[in-house]
């Protein structure tokens, strides 16, 4: 179950690198090491396979990983966990600011041990 969302995340990581290859200037992406396009493409496709393939039903019921649960359950829960993050984002960054009429502004603060971190401050939206 844990490895399923990882395959989803890795698909996006792979796709992201392919995207960077075609938008190099825009992102100013010139790292000291290059994975090359075939490697990124293979990684992307194999993870897409890992995301999609578990939904193909097993040929015989005894291959099912569970005795009584549907064979695709861990995939759905995995996606649900990612979706839960999306719902949180929707509430925190979209819905609540709209209701409270503010925007989230990022401030960088330095803590006493020297690490920097971001703080989001609620800025009241100006009337136009």
């Amino acid at each position: 179950m844990i490895s399923y969302p990882l395959a989803v995340v890795n698909s996006f990581v792979g796709l992201g690198l392919i995207w960077l290859y075609f938008h190099r200037e825009e992102y100013n992406w010139y790292p000291p090491f290059k994975a090359t396009l075939p490697a990124a493409g293979f990684f992307f496709l194999s993870n897409v396979y890992l995301v999609v393939a578990p939904f193909v039903p097993p040929e015989t019921p005894d291959q099912n990983q569970y005795k009584s649960l549907p064979y695709w359950l861990h995939c759905v829960i995995g996606i649900g966990i990612l979706a839960a993050g999306g719902v949180y984002w929707l509430l925190w960054a979209v819905v609540l600011p709209k209701i409270g009429n503010y925007t989230l502004e990022r401030r960088v603060t330095t803590s006493s041990d020297g690490w920097t971190r971001n703080v989001y401050i609620k800025e009241p939206r100006l009337k136009e």
Binding site: L17, P31, E59, Q63, Q65, Y66, L69, L82, Y88, W89
Partner: protein, 364 residues
Amino acid sequence: MNRMIGTGIFATPSSIFALSGSVGLSLFMWVIGTLIAASGLLVYMEFGTGLPRNGGEKNYLEFVYKKPRLLATGVYAGYALLLGWAGSNSVVFGEYILLAARVEVNRFNQRGVGLACVTCAFLIHGLALKWGLRLQNLLGGIKIAILLIIIIGGFVALGGHVKLDEKPDNFTDAFANTSGSAYGVVTALYSVIWSYIGYSNANYALAEAKNPVRTLKIAAPLALALVAVLYMLANIAYFAAVPREEILSSGRILAASFFRNVMGESAERALSVFVALSAFGNVLSVIFSQGRIVQELGREGILPWSSFFASNKPFGAPFTGLFEHWLVSVIIMLAPPPGDAYNLSEHRPSSTPSLPRLHPQSST
């Protein structure tokens, strides 16, 4: 390298074999899985050298998927916070320790020992960072030593020296009984990749490495190549020393069956302790990485109580981030009832429910 070798190699070959049906396809799955892990390593290396910060793929997703603002971070937060990665290795630890102690494994003692294991790992990393890393490296050394013992034992077994009445004969007609259904193949592939899971771990603590680019460029590929060779040899060793039926029924304690067949029963018990220790090493490294991801999310400022999770207090380690991961791992380990729900909460469910198992819960 320590982080790359999961305890998978001591356990998963059994379920991969069960899913693929034959020695030939089983080894072939390991090759494919290795290729996927290698391409993943290259991708993570490029991102890691381009964005050398703590936190791994969270940074990469944020960097690429900028719009809508903060969505990538939010989705990733759900994924990082709600899954307890340290749980499954803790249970492996419990199983092997009980095996060595000759105690019957049941639902409660297995999880109890697992709980002690993950709690220890959390306290060591949270309170004494330096000692945690030292211990982690020591246990990694033990793990490699066991793998080498397995491989050498495998060659001995190939030469015909096994403590069995009949020498296992798994290599003639290596592709016999290949089942290869789409579902079986993909499930087996997941297990193989899980065995390589550590390839991205180095990326999570990059800001703490002395020379991140160099570390990634040289150490990571070298480690992967070595691990790949060790894995293949270990698989061959298992097939050389453990008969087909026994592999299928051994589940998570395959390595123990191997030791018994090659070196006898007392060796089985001694080596089980070492396998348990290496599982503990994995729990240490997983909780180390995940704690840092939680901390990084806190630094990003998007979580409730962000400053709490972002802090390095009170002992110069991300104590609160580690704590969050410990908590989720414990819940996932202890909460589900046995059976399907328990299999589901593990990283990969049991693969061979139709076969008799030594321990009803021994699923990885």
